[in-house]
Symmetry: C2
């Protein structure tokens, strides 16, 4: 169950970054020097995206300009809508976002380095549109309007998803969730995006790499796996019995432990408190109670702490979000971090090309086809 043993290249320094620190003292997360606690308490997600992409917190006028720009970039070109309409309801929404991002690269390519910030903002603004547009068309055949007047990315997305604007608690909970998921140093999807970038490839290729890498259950897919876990149980006692039984079978539970944090994931307590707040407002804390008991059991039995994905599951569920959209929401946020790493990797101008240890057959003579054995 050790999170470390399951990690290849653990502790190997693969490059430099000025963007974020993860678990410097076994815990703690900063974006450009600001703690995640401060950002989650005082900032909006758009402020955090500005901080990441530009390198400093925006002044009021800059934030207003960013919000207006993002609002203007929500629309989808007709060709992209047609493409999304040809992706079936059975498709994994992560694959839909990957395809939509890739198609946008064909329709609105980055042409020069000056396009990199606009391209990043375009994706930040319209990936939620792609997800919601495809979701409604695939499930009901309805072509929704994606250009709304909502003030934030969080409210834009929830409005499109549910057809009505969210209440203030849910809106802010989603906003905070986007802040928490925005950036995390050299995690697998970001590192892979940097490799794509390192060949001097384009923004859309790098973001497609990020989405495809995030998709796996050992990475972004973990929030969906956490939901599957908590949904198994009726109540907290049931959860305790189930997790104890699972542990005795050496079952692995997603949403616990981390390749880098050793003491705790500072994001977990933040989303946990928001999950409670939403659950209390809804008058239904059952999933939160189950989650908290699992947290207690995992710490008591395995000394494992929840990571961001674990309490995100109950939070998203209580916001009325289908489980298959949990990891896609991670994309809507992390695109800000990936794009920032694209900028940073580009400034180094070097290709990332490690070596492998070869453990295969020695050089051997060719065998003619008639003489080959199975």
């Amino acid at each position: 169950m050790s999170a470390k043993k399951a990690v290849q290249m653990s502790g190997i320094i693969a490059g430099e970054t000025v963007i974020a620190t993860v678990g410097k003292e076994g815990k703690g997360l900063t974006y450009r020097g600001y703690t995640i606690e401060d950002l989650a308490q005082y900032s909006t997600f758009e402020e955090v995206a500005y901080l990441l992409l530009i390198g400093r917190l925006p002044r009021s006028s800059e934030l207003a300009a960013l919000n207006a720009d993002l609002k203007s970039k929500r629309g989808l070109p007709a060709g992209l809508k047609t493409i999304l309409e040809n992706l079936p309801a059975s498709a994994n929404p992560m694959e839909v976002l990957r395809t939509g991002c890739s198609a946008l690269g064909c329709l609105e390519p980055e042409k020069t380095i000056e396009d990199q910030l606009p391209a990043a903002l375009r994706l930040l603004a319209c990936l939620p549109s792609m997800l919601a547009y495809w979701h409604h068309f695939a499930t009901t055949g309805k072509r929704i309007e994606v250009e709304t007047d909502d003030e934030s990315i969080a409210t834009h997305f929830l409005h499109m998803l549910h057809g009505v604007p969210p209440g203030p608690t849910i809106a802010r909970a989603m906003d905070v969730s986007l802040i928490l998921y925005a950036e995390h140093e050299f995690n697998a999807s970001t590192f892979a995006s940097r490799i794509t970038t390192s060949t001097m490839s384009d923004m859309h290729s790098a973001i497609c790499t990020g989405i495809g890498t995030l998709r796996g259950p050992l990475h972004g897919g973990a929030n969906e796996k956490a939901m599957e876990l908590i949904e198994r149980f009726e109540n907290a006692d049931d959860a305790e019995a189930g997790v104890m039984a699972g542990l005795s079978r050496k079952e692995k539970f997603m949403g616990f432990g981390h390749p880098v944090y050793t003491e705790n994931d500072p994001r977990s307590d933040i989303i946990k408190s928001w999950s409670l707040k939403i659950s209390q407002e809804a008058g239904d804390t059952r999933l939160w109670d189950i989650s908290e008991r699992i947290e207690t059991v995992m710490m008591r039995e395995k000394k494992m702490f929840p990571n961001l994905d674990f309490f995100s599951a109950s939070a998203y569920h209580m916001m009325g979000i289908p489980t298959a959209m949990f990891t896609p929401i991670f994309v809507l946020s992390r695109v800000s971090g990936w794009a920032t790493h694209v900028f940073e990797q580009r400034s180094s101008g070097r290709i990332i090309r490690p070596s492998a240890e070869y453990t295969g057959p020695e050089k051997r003579a060719y065998v003619e086809i008639e003489e080959r054995s199975a």
Copy 2:
């Protein structure tokens, strides 16, 4: 101009592989222990794909079954054709392949680990169809038939591209080129694909990562840059003068040197001889003469040898292939290597997550929006 200095993670062992060795003694390339020289001389590309994906050379009946299977997998679903028809003629063909691969993942997803080989073969068989279908539709509006009776991937592709089957020399030259491009250990695109795979993501995500990473001019895009170079010149003397002038301006020429090979790229002489053969049959060795002179000058002046990309440029051009398709052809081949690395990475079950050296700001206090400076 040193190839090494331009490489991040140079020499860092990022994992194990049994698939290929690159430049073990500063030169030399083996796939599963067989030298690239033997494979290029005696095998077909399909045999090499079998060798990579299955781990040994096929017997006659196995090769026949593979060829029949690949032939049966050339068709494109209607939804995918519609998607390709919505990608404009101005799109980069690498982005088209990335989008087509991504869409195929939505339409024909891998469901279990048993699907991995069929999914890889499906991509190997139908990526050429996607490229040719989009090319003709985007440029002339014609919807071509992609299910042909051609015996090999090389002839299938050239037949679709040109509307007539290729002659034997060009067919075999393309076949050899696909062998040479098939696999190359932990190059940037393959390593990035392995990271995508390491989160337990799907085959199509991994191949999209590969395509997006290969796209950059520091990687697969180099064969197109090599073409741009040789096209600049009228003849060999002109090329010598031009390259000497470029070197004095410290211009960087793509298609020379390598992050791993130190003595030579063993693939270069093979494609060089095929480029000459095609050029002689066509009665036009001008581009080959220019290329050879540039090779001589680069060795004399900079001790730099050509890599596979350099003579591939003149070879492809003399096969009548548009320059924008050079890197896409690299994809049609390398998908065999990427998929093999997906299989291998999956068998390890570990997530690839390195660390970064943080060189950014120290932890700092939050600043209210009214108090921020630019």
